[in-house]
């Protein structure tokens, strides 16, 4: 199964769990876990990805005739649930007509830190005199989506482009130094699909931050999926008429955040990080297979 199919499968599998996320300025690193880089294996894009938790039709098959595809339904964790501070003054209104993707540039070694990271990003952005987190939504490594800045307001940036009109999604992590998980890509794609319909912003307006300003954001490993059209194609795959995005609040959302921080949010997957030398360094290959509580084996299983 190729990466594109896997990502969509992961998204479908995660559909019972709200997708979410949000972030800080790409070039401004806060709460970085850089010290863990050397011990945290990551691998290059394009490696094998093998879902097993969600069944998938045979290659080339189509939905049965007369059976409607359900509308895309996403949910995001509301600001109160992830512990956002109140917004400050200085919002500027705008009208969204394009779609732009960032990363936080902060290495994320464990997704349990994602909500705290988000709070840190917002705090940092407020300290810059910005009215709120720079982005409209953030997505963590498990594909959870977090509500950010109100959509009716323009984002902020420390780089040299005008964010007016941009729907801003930030993916938690530093994708120059680590791979972006398929489930995270899937949630970003789904958000873009929703925003495309909601704001009549064509999917061919999807850009990475580096397309607009002098920055490496959103990281080489994520940008490659933008540059080769994979992200737009994934968004097109999951786009449906009447797509919805629900902002989830209250005790259920608070429990979701608690589960994320405890590492028990159900959108996780089992991931193998394989290295071709017995030495410290990044993984040479990454395989996603099954659930986190499965027991790994290895060997030559035959053709």
């Amino acid at each position: 199964m190729d990466r594109r199919r896997f990502i969509r499968t992961a998204l479908v599998g995660a559909s019972a769990v709200p997708l979410s996320g949000l972030l800080a300025a790409c070039a401004k690193v806060v709460n970085s876990d850089r010290a863990s880089v050397a011990t945290t294996p990551t691998a290059p894009i394009g490696t094998t990805s093998l879902p097993t938790t969600t069944s998938w039709p045979a290659e080339g098959s189509e939905p049965p005739t007369g059976r409607a595809t359900p509308p895309l339904a996403l949910s995001a964790i509301c600001r109160d649930a992830w512990g956002a501070s109140p917004s400050g003054p200085g919002f500027v209104g705008h009208t969204i007509d394009r779609l732009t993707v960032h990363h936080t540039a902060a290495f994320l070694s464990s997704n349990t830190a994602a909500p705290a990271r988000l709070r840190g990003h917002q705090s940092y952005h407020l300290s810059l005199g910005w009215p709120d987190l720079a982005y409209h939504f953030a997505v963590d490594a498990n594909g959870n989506i977090y509500e950010g800045r109100p959509l009716e307001y323009r984002g902020d940036t420390g780089t040299d482009y005008d964010p007016a009109g941009h729907f801003l999604v930030v993916a938690e992590g530093n994708f120059n130094d680590q791979q972006i998980p398929d489930v995270q890509v899937g949630s970003v794609a789904a958000l873009l699909a929703w925003a495309s319909e909601e704001f009549d912003a064509p999917l061919d307006t999807i850009r990475g931050h580096r397309d607009l300003a002098s920055t490496t954001c959103p990281g080489d490993n994520f940008y490659s999926l933008i540059a080769d059209g994979t992200l737009a194609a994934l968004a097109a795959d999951v786009a449906t008429p009447d797509a919805t995005l629900t902002i989830e609040c209250g005790s259920a959302a608070e429990q979701r955040v608690a589960d994320i921080e405890a590492g028990v949010d159900s959108s996780g997957a089992g991931t193998f990080f394989l290295k071709n030398a017995n030495e410290t360094g990044q993984a040479d290959d990454v395989v996603e297979l099954g659930d986190p509580d499965w027991i790994p084996v290895s060997g030559n299983f035959g053709p």
């Binding site: 011990t39 089992g270 017995n278 297979l289 060997g299």
Partner: protein, 220 residues
């Protein structure tokens, strides 16, 4: 790496032939369902064993293909199957004590895998180069030795490419990997950081160069 005898009788040396690269798989401990990624990228799924069994893979019939094994930690029984499919065990016997951890590998370099054990309460490995049969006991280990600390995660592999699988340990608290190149007591021949606390370690020849290298499994 598997060492194959050359067809030309006059050649007196063994020729190292490139081995097929290893891949990964996993067993769902709740359903005892196995999911194996084959070398062609397809996934084979089948049921084998009981929930709670400890899974591993090995080449029990020396045909070059790794197939499932189970260790029932409640009674020290080993159940080996020679095909990657649902069915009954082809070989079963007991070896070790309850709560021992099984380690599959070719510990003498003969091209066939056997099942040794690690006794976590002692930090001691019990290596054996044969398989049992007919529900019987296997007897004493070929060699036993201490390596590492209580609580380390054991694994096995051919870490120096000599055709013999030896022992490695993963110390979860600091993500340190320790490897030994021979079946004897001593300090690690190689050590390095890899992964994060909580990862599960294993090894395999991922690029077919004849040397087993590390991999980790992480639930994220």
């Amino acid at each position: 790496m598997r060492y194959l005898a050359p067809a030309i009788a006059t050649m007196l040396v063994w020729v190292a032939m490139p081995a097929a690269a290893d891949t990964v798989g996993a067993m769902d401990p709740v359903t005892a369902e196995w999911h194996l990624v084959r070398s062609n990228g397809t996934t084979t799924t089948f049921e084998y064993g009981n929930p709670g069994d400890y899974p591993f893979m090995g080449d029990w019939d020396c045909d070059g293909i790794d197939t499932p094994g189970l260790y029932r930690q409640s009674d020290g029984f080993v159940y080996l199957r020679n095909a990657n499919s649902t069915g009954i065990a082809d070989i079963n016997y007991f070896f070790g004590d309850p709560d021992d951890i099984p380690l599959a590998g070719d510990f003498d370099g003969d091209g066939c895998d056997t099942v040794s054990i690690y006794r976590p309460g002692e930090g001691r490995f019990y290596i054996i180069d044969q398989l049992g049969s007919q529900s019987g006991g296997l007897g004493a280990a070929s060699v036993d030795y201490l390596f590492g600390n209580v609580g380390d995660q054991p694994f096995a592999g051919d870490f120096n490419g000599d055709g013999v699988d030896t022992i490695g340990l993963y110390r979860e608290v600091d993500s340190f990997v320790y490897m030994r190149y021979s079946h004897s007591q001593g300090i690690a021949d190689r050590s390095f950081f890899y992964g994060d606390p909580g990862d599960v370690i294993f090894s395999g020849d991922w690029n077919g160069d004849g040397t087993d290298t590390v991999g980790i499994f992480r639930g994220i």
